[in-house]
């Protein structure tokens, strides 16, 4: 449970860092943070709902599902002719962070329950 809280917290920090690096912008770290966030956040958010327990499969699904979500979003942009990757990223990061935050709250509550 502690591991789950730690992972969720790290993911939210990554999301915040990627947003900051893009908005401010900080060109030195922006590519690394944006690509890391794109490769991890959407998949991690989905995997929190799936409750996958095997670590190798979890890691594989997080990255692959992230790629799938990112690709689907990007296709939507080019097919509609409305190429605004920033808006897409805001949607994906927002939705992913919300799911991860819910998982964090659940994990924290369970951890508290276990400790008390």
């Amino acid at each position: 449970m502690r591991h789950r809280v730690l992972v969720d917290s790290s993911l939210l920090v990554l999301a915040a860092a990627a947003v900051l690096a893009t908005v401010l912008p900080i060109p030195e770290v922006r590519p690394f943070l944006v690509i890391a966030a794109a490769l991890v956040l959407p998949g991690a958010a989905i995997v929190t709902r799936l409750r996958v327990q095997e670590p190798i499969a979890t890691a594989a699904l997080i990255i692959s599902l992230s790629l799938a979500v990112d690709t689907a979003g990007a296709l939507l942009l080019v097919w509609t002719g409305s190429f605004h990757p920033g808006a897409l990223a805001a949607d994906i990061v927002g939705a992913s962070s919300a799911l991860i935050f819910i998982d964090l709250c659940t994990g924290t509550a369970q951890l508290r329950g276990r400790l008390t």
Binding site: T22, P25, P27, R30, P31, V34, I35, A38, L50, R51, V52, Q53, E54, P55, I56, A57, A59, A60, L61, I63, S64, L65, L67, A68, D70, T71, A72, G73, A74, L75, L77, V78, W79, G81, S82, F83, P85, G86, L88, A89
Partner: protein, 651 residues
């Protein structure tokens, strides 16, 4: 795979024990010699020492390379001893980690990642631009989408299957970097990611963390095809592996049934060995509807990303359904419908530009196309890929026999079937002379799992030596097969700059005629307005004027060159570059130094003017004196000429 129950409740028994190996929980609780001697914390540090040493040696070795002096032996011929020691440290560390007690999965993962870094990360670490001239036409599509913000299906096949390009265009814009800057690193990243998914599949099927680690390592060592560069195939391949992970892990039938059961029974009677009743995949733990929806979405993205991969999905899924391992059967219909629904509006384009079917000729379709007679490549470089493929297939056959012998035929049969299934594509397609390579590529994960499973059976305890022999043999062939062509694969950065300049500054309708093959064409967003940018092949002097390839060029040939150039465009350019010279020399597409000699005549001719120059590139255009015909007649001939050209290579 998914669900800890399946991980810790591995069936036991005399036959199953050899197959299964220790489960992860049991293995973690075991105390190894290092732990007894130094304590757990110190032991955890000690096991990282070879990893740190490998990384330090690899970094040191980078300063010893000179990519401008690569010869016919490619990267292995120039690599310093420290590079080989770094590779040995990572590979040896991975093998040691796989067989050590207690087993640490994360440590194996780090060592396998180290192997991927050395094999696929060395060239990206040494150059600012990606390898392979053909990568740049993909980057051009990304630039086009960034510039236009939309697709134009009339331009080329990439605008019709845009998954990867849309993803990269969005990522480039968000990250604030050009695709050229990160394209080179796609290869090590996807090589590692694919190995991770293969490990997850192996873990799902075998419930054995050691087999998972070995499968990942072997997958890297045998997969010499180099598919993981910035291409639609790379993304589609990764998604296909993920789809198979979900199918095997979540849609397997609990009880043995169907053809798999019957064939296993037959093999049991022939081998006179009792066969266990274990299921192929893991016990499903996820919501079945959610899994099927995820598979459908993954397949839909594969379908719009790459032309061939959806059919590989259908072949492999169909195989599992036919064996009675996976359900529901209608899933095949669903994925087939998605594939055909997307193909239908593009079928006439494919038929007119490439041909939907090459004919029912498996042997002919399996033949690969090489650019030239390969005389100047070393014998090992030319044959190592084929040798590695056969060695891997042989080891997989031994692995499957070992599984049947130990009573695991119900796992061996689907693995062999999945390994063979991609070959079905040879019944219909040659895929531009690359079908055999693609078949091997899609078979590689299952080959790796079969070999790893065989090793676990043949050497259930202390299998480091046997694993080491197999990995060394595979890597010895991998190096010349995958890295032996580095002399033509590595593109100097100024050639990319020259191409970018040309596409930015040449007038619309210009034609860039290559003196020889191997130049980073189409990198600019304006490639659709140039001749050869809308689906036709790149204008290529050697293909158009074969006499230049067969005999030493003379001044008399200049008129042929001028006529050829003006047949394409009113604004023709002739490109000479170091990469073209290297390609011609290594693949013997011309007589020795023919291109250099031809450029000498061009440079001294009053009909040509140097338009752009860098250290490795010269781009010439024609002076007004060189034009024997009027513009009207040129345009007429160009139209007929360009349409007659058929693109030789597939995306």
């Amino acid at each position: 795979m998914i669900g800890v129950e399946s991980a810790v409740t591995a069936p036991s028994g005399s036959d199953g024990a050899a197959w299964m190996g220790p489960g992860p929980v049991a293995a973690t609780d075991q105390i190894g010699p290092a732990e007894r001697r130094y304590g757990r914390r110190l032991a955890s540090v000690i096991v990282l020492l070879p990893l740190c040493a490998g990384l330090a040696l690899w970094i040191v070795s980078l300063s010893k390379f000179d990519l401008t002096r690569l010869g016919p032996s490619g990267l292995p011929g120039q690599a310093p001893l420290t590079w080989y020691v770094a590779l040995a440290a990572f590979a040896g560390g991975a093998i040691w980690s796989i067989w050590s007690v207690p087993h640490r999965g994360w440590l194996t993962g780090l060592y396998v990642a180290g192997v991927a870094l050395v094999l696929a990360g060395t060239i990206p670490a040494l150059t600012d631009v990606p390898q392979y001239a053909w990568t740049y036409k993909h980057i051009g599509v990304i630039h086009l989408i960034e510039a236009q913000g939309s697709l134009n299906p009339s331009v080329d096949i990439y605008n019709r299957w845009p998954g990867l390009f849309a993803l990269c265009a969005a990522l480039s814009r968000l990250a604030g970097v050009d695709a050229v800057a990160y394209a080179g690193w796609v290869q090590p990243v996807f090589m590692g990611l694919d190995a991770l998914i293969v490990a997850a599949i192996a873990r799902t099927i075998t419930r054995d963390a050691r087999v998972a680690g070995m499968s990942a390592l072997l997958f890297i060592a045998i997969n010499w095809v180099n598919q993981a560069y910035l291409s639609p195939q790379t993304l589609a391949y990764t998604l296909e592996l993920t789809l198979m992970l979900l199918v095997v892990g979540q849609l397997s039938t609990a009880k043995p049934s169907g053809f798999n059961n019957r064939i296993a029974g037959l093999l049991g009677r022939i081998s006179r060995r009792p066969q266990t009743a274990e299921s192929f995949g893991a016990q499903p733990t996820l919501n079945r509807r959610a899994v099927i929806a995820a598979i459908a979405v993954l397949d839909a993205i594969i379908v719009v990303t790459h032309q061939l991969t959806p059919y590989m999905v259908l072949l492999q899924l169909g195989t599992l359904l036919a064996l009675g391992i996976t359900r529901p059967r209608w899933l095949l219909l669903l994925l087939g419908a998605i594939t055909l629904a997307y193909l239908a509006p593009h079928a006439s384009y494919l038929q007119s530009h490439y041909g939907l079917f090459s004919g029912i000729d498996p042997l002919g379709n399996a033949a690969t196309v090489t650019p030239g007679p390969n005389i100047h490549r070393t014998w090992l470089n030319s044959h190592s890929g084929l040798m590695l493929s056969f060695l891997a297939a042989l080891m997989a056959a031994i692995g499957s026999a070992a599984l049947v012998w130990t009573g695991s035929a119900r796992k061996a049969i689907p693995l062999v079937a999945l390994m063979l299934a991609p070959g079905g594509i040879l019944l219909a397609q040659s895929y531009g002379g690359e079908a055999a390579l693609r078949v091997y590529m899609f078979s590689a994960p299952w080959i790796a799992i079969l070999i790893a499973s065989g090793l676990a059976v043949l050497a259930p305890r202390g299998g480091s030596l046997l694993t080491g022999v197999v990995v060394v043999a595979a890597l010895a062939l991998y190096l010349p097969a995958a890295l032996g062509t580095a002399a033509t694969d590595v593109i100097p950065a100024d050639e990319v700059q020259a191409s970018e300049y040309a596409y930015a500054h040449a007038p619309a309708g210009a034609a860039f005629l290559l003196a020889g093959q191997n130049f980073p064409l189409r990198v600019g967003a304006r490639y659709p307005v140039m001749v050869g940018g809308t689906g036709e092949a790149t204008p290529d002097l050697l293909r158009d004027v074969p006499s230049l390839a067969d005999q030493a060029p003379g001044e008399r040939d200049l008129q042929l060159v001028i006529t050829n150039m003006t047949s394409y465009s009113a604004h023709p350019y002739l490109v000479f570059s170091t990469s073209q010279f290297a390609h011609a020399a290594i693949f013997q597409t011309t007589l020795p130094h023919s291109l250099e000699r031809l450029e000498g005549y061009v440079a001294n001719s009053p009909s040509f003017r140097l338009w752009y120059r860098t250290a490795n590139v010269r781009i010439y255009t024609l002076t007004p004196d060189a034009d024997p015909d009027g513009p009207q007649s040129r345009r007429t001939r160009r139209h007929g000429h360009v349409r007659s050209i058929h693109e030789a290579t597939r995306p």
